[in-house]
Subunit: 212 residues, 2 copies
């Protein structure tokens, strides 16, 4: 993986709730077939061994399609499965410590809700930031709001890619025009869709049609 | 730290509940002054950043007294603070993967509740096992029971140190005579004591007086 070549355009954050492992893995595989370019495995309150086991299975799929697999929060899991990187929230491991542990080749993403957090992420060695929630969302209640104007301020303040996240769906992607983002990140728009292939295709097609 | 020289005789597992950070750190320091030889930081449901921050503070104390600090479950925290090792339950990272990540010099302990788990831990590269609950306990409800006879069978089946855990207090240490253990591990007997120095001194004195 060359970090500079990563395509962030359709970045899926997983949500395994209310799904069997088989159903979960099928959604991920179909979403990649539909156009997802990065997968972030996000688990909360999952015991380490179970987290490791689901991550190993997910990596088989992302490897098959040659797309990056990112682990939310847990550097130990990323090291254990030797995947492409981690994504760190503001309550997770400080990015500068994560960089020391992971070395320069691993991908580190950081959630940033304002210019200060975004600039600090760059200084700490982040490769990209995730910023949001850009729209109202029910998936992640602790996300600070980042309205479109604020998102523009953030992307304009840093020189690494920004992925917009939070409540993004086909109907509102157009509002992200001219925000200088490098991709959109979704959870429920794919995880809760009846047809993950079509849902991903539609999201990607609309994203590709807007001015960035 | 030379792994072969570690003194497991009085092994404290922390419980930070209902304590301020200051109170918590004071108990740990006093317990070491009273005779604790190993400290395991055990957190559950603590966000990574907070876990990291408390671990950094705890390491300052264990370094001052030159005793090993072990992190329960989280290899990422152990790497971040560069402490002596990790302790892994059966639902945590498989020990063989932990060994790959941590290298040969770090200490890895594994919880084992029967001969099979104990032997597997040895094969996976564990340096010691923790076995219990040897007595009834309220701290860790998911612990399987390891009565004295079973504990003997376990210690006799492996060639690495065994630390007995679970409900151990001054009053019942004598029941652990002739079990071939290398130490006793306590939580509440120290964490909930009114005088951690005296509590530790008493536990250690009784432990040192029994035949092993």
């Amino acid at each position: 993986m060359n970090k500079e070549d990563i395509d962030y355009s359709l970045y899926l954050v997983t949500d395994r709730r209310n799904k069997t492992t088989e159903e979960f893995l099928k959604i991920i595989e179909e979403s990649i077939q539909g156009g997802v370019t990065v997968v972030q495995l996000r688990e909360k309150d999952t015991p380490t061994k179970e987290f490791y086991q689901i991550a190993i299975k997910l990596k088989e799929i992302t490897q098959k399609y040659k797309i990056p697999l990112i682990i939310n929060d847990r550097i130990d899991i990323a090291l254990a499965i030797e995947c492409e990187g981690v994504h760190l929230g503001q309550d997770d491991m400080p990015a500068e410590i994560a960089r020391k542990i992971l070395g320069k080749d691993k991908l580190i993403g950081v959630s940033a809700h304002n210019i200060e957090e975004a600039k600090k992420a760059v200084l700490d060695g982040a490769d990209y930031i995730g910023s949001g929630a850009v729209f109202p969302t029910s998936t992640k209640n602790d996300a600070s709001d980042v309205p479109i104007e604020k998102l523009k301020d953030i992307t304009n303040s840093i020189n690494i890619p920004t992925v917009a996240i939070g409540g993004i769906k086909s109907e509102n992607i157009k509002q992200l025009e001219n925000t200088n983002i490098s991709g959109i990140s979704v959870v429920s728009a794919i995880m809760e869709s009846e047809n993950p292939i079509k849902a991903s295709e539609k999201l990607k097609s609309i994203y590709n049609s807007i001015e960035l």
